[in-house]
Symmetry: C2
Amino acid sequence: MAYLDHIHACNNADLSRYARFRIDTLPVGAVRPEFAAALIRLGEDFFVRDENGDYGFAPHILTVADRNQILVKATETLCQQGVIKHLHGEKFDIRNHVSDEPLCQLDRFAMPYFGCRSWGVHMNGFVRKPDGIHMWGAKRAMDKPTYPGMLDNMVAGGQPTGLGFRENMIKECAEEAGIPSGLAANITAIGTVSYLYETNEGLKPDVMVNFDLELPEDFIPQCTDGEVERFDLLPIADVAEIVRTGFDFKFNCALVVIDFLIRHGHLTADNEPSYCELVTGLHRAFEL
Amino acid sequence: MAYLDHIHACNNADLSRYARFRIDTLPVGAVRPEFAAALIRLGEDFFVRDENGDYGFAPHILTVADRNQILVKATETLCQQGVIKHLHGEKFDIRNHVSDEPLCQLDRFAMPYFGCRSWGVHMNGFVRKPDGIHMWGAKRAMDKPTYPGMLDNMVAGGQPTGLGFRENMIKECAEEAGIPSGLAANITAIGTVSYLYETNEGLKPDVMVNFDLELPEDFIPQCTDGEVERFDLLPIADVAEIVRTGFDFKFNCALVVIDFLIRHGHLTADNEPSYCELVTGLHRAFEL
């Protein structure tokens, strides 16, 4: 296999299987036929299908508060019916751009069913040693509901309603790895990585907003909230080899590592045949 | 205006105006109707139009050497005819991916007429001072044939046949800014920026292969080869403001600066409304 296989794995979605989900005239998501049918079965006070075959809220649902009320009722009912497997409790904003006002809020675990864009924050923790860069990685706890036991970036989290990205990243640094806020204040925003991924639940058109954090050699992260089994510090070449040769990393975290390898000069146009395709593949735009 | 306007300015090409240029069955470029007609006027020993309306070499032109011979004859004739304005003398490889074997070589100034992909190297020279990052910029000489007097990255150059990217970047560092090879050896590959630009001459589907170079505070670049009138070291916020508010930078160099601003945390998801669109816009993939 090759680095490029991770780009393909994270961009496995076949949009032809989906119908649009709109709010007013704005496409904000994409639903599978079976989920769309479940939405319609909730009754015409909830969701409707328009003449174009697009799905959306019933016409009398006009405000953010109206939409939120309907979404809470709908997701709870669909969860009782087994259509949605689990709810998370944490809410994500529905919007197409981070600068847009949120159109409503939806349970984090319901996001892929509606196929709405979501944002997360990922942090590359690294140490500069005499022999080069070493990267911190996390092994996800075996009892995590999603991707148990897989490798992860040092710190990562979803972007919930009402927080800034930097603020959220610093909060996650404390919660997931015990990084004190004074040290976490050194995080540097370094860009995004985006992908269009399809799961059993639905569509994930996701953007990861990423940060680097250079750490002192003597800093040891702590598994604070139980989401991580173990942190390991590895030479950058070893991390690269893990990514290049397998799928040990959670699907999207592999992309964040590849982006780090590119930005820090480990992969170059002279040593990686797919260098240019990796850079464009990590940063794809998508329309829903 | 806004940072995003630079993305739009560099992606102004209307591909519907172009016909494909193929080598065997591989699309490698795109030609405007008037240039395509000039190719056909050279005679059927040179170029032909196929049943799909695509253009390519005459059927007996089969090897790299054959193609190179025809391209030299064709570009010289077209230059005498005034169809191609100038030739440069330096050759660029024709290929679709940096890892492909070159299919032939073409004069650098003839590249946009054939609309073939080309690669360049750009270097962000910067200094870390107590008050933050300062960036070196270059003002192009007033007698340069292209974009005279415009602002440029500290060092940049086309990617000629037969050199590695890193090797080329180090060579340009010496030629354009008098950076000794010992210092230039500290360049770090940091990714690419790509765009699909249209000029009076034709199409530029270009990839810039970029490097950062952190310089000591006391290093002063020298205008070695006369291509640069002046180098200036400015606080990153001043460089950002020049880019945000105007088109003083050469079109593609503005993108390299925006990429630097993003990778070094000057622009973030919290302070720039178009952050996510800038990142995807800087790294677009394109098919010819």
